[in-house]
Amino acid sequence: MRYSVASVIREGLFGNKGWGRAWRDPEPKPAYDVIVVGGGGHGLSTAYYLAKEHGLTKVAVLEKGWLGGGNVGRNTTIIRSNYMMDGNTQFYELSLKLWEGLSHDINYNAMVSHRGVFNLAHTPSQYDAFAYRGNVMRSNGIDAEILTREEVRKELPYLDFSEKARFPVYGALVQRRGGTARHDAVAWGYARAADMRGVDIIQNCEVTGFIREGDRIVGVESTRGAIRAKKVAMAVAGHTSVLAEKAGLRLPIESHLLQAFVTESIKPLIDTVITFGAGHFYISQSDKGSLVFGGDLDGYNSYAQRGNLPIVEHVLTEGKALIPRLSRLRMLRHWAGVMDMSMDGSPIIDLTPMPGLYLNTGWCYGGFKAVPGSGFCFAHLIARDEPHPVAAKFRLDRFRTGRPIDEKGAGPVPGHH
């Protein structure tokens, strides 16, 4: 059923009894054209664009748990395109453009909110670095503004501008088109839109191995039996190494934890996204009123999906240094997600040395904003066996050939990206 004003009014008048399920719950078929492993944001958007852009509809998404149970439902929902390395700059802008039309495209309210992203600078040199970044963005046709301390103060008066501020605000880089989106809605919306185009979305189906013919991958072994496919595409975020090992691949990836935090609901306070450049802290307010924030990685390899306490203390300290009034709030929840940290901090969308196997990984802790662009480019790669021009730098062999995209300048240390 298509959602529209008329359907909302009709259902409202008749007790909301007519809503069908958002996507079917089919049994796996014996064979598909494409199997996408992983029903997170990237897997679901890939399936959708395979159907929409390339007419491939004999497609299945296999998810070991439930849709939205991975990082797509665990992140702090920030979307932006303020990157500056060649490759990243163009890719994240494509993704942000897709966000702009997303709710209409998939007929589902993803609650995309262009509330603006402020990156605070606390020193003249950091301010210069941000001005440089802003110039790179603008020369690529991407919106960016640089604000002085007084200009920031006008817009964000609740930051610590006092004499006592531990890290005084010097200025900020602002991308007004950046903002947030509703994480679950992104997963559900893509799932429903892919399903409406004939894609089978199969939950509770863990891929446990691959079927091979010669050196070709021709399907998967799963907890719901063997399923054959002409092409198998991996989009399993933090678990890429575990699955890739079953195909004999060793990757430039480590799995690390990132935690997120939510406070009790309060009246509207923060109407934008703020990142604290003196440390590592970012905050926004959800539509329900909770403040949503996060900080550093836990810093060591982990698949635990639960964080450790030192980071809790660290994040809260930073938050209070930036916005003193946070100390009066109760924190309701915190949790962690397992992320696929790549060795240069940038993603990998590529063919693999195994014919029939396609790879989408290395999103680190910036992969939510990439969901539309990643699916769009990955679908192109799978359908045509050649990279989409905008993602052509995200090759797997860039590490071997000395062409990493090191946005952060942190070298081959995933925990530092």
Partner: protein, 110 residues
Amino acid sequence: MLINCPYCGLRSLEEFTYGGDASLERPDLADEDMERWYTYVYLRDNPRGPHKEFWHHLYGCRQWLVATRDTLTHQVTSVVPARDVVKPADLPEVQSPAEARPKRVAGMKP
């Protein structure tokens, strides 16, 4: 998470910094084989289970240790002084406390 330092006893995670995968073997510095260096610098097993890794007891005895830790449960099953199990060439370079923290200039993620 607690780590049992062979010199200091059971201590909290906060006293330590992580030094990465301790199962890697650094090629000889004179080795000119790029494939071996690529493998050493970039490729990781990244296991979901027991993992051999370096920890520096930075705010304790300042010794480098090699711990075996389960990446799924965070349980640390063995901790030994690094000098007992690795060649000096494999040890990460010793950092001063100020350098031990990753430098975060941009501060705008995720």
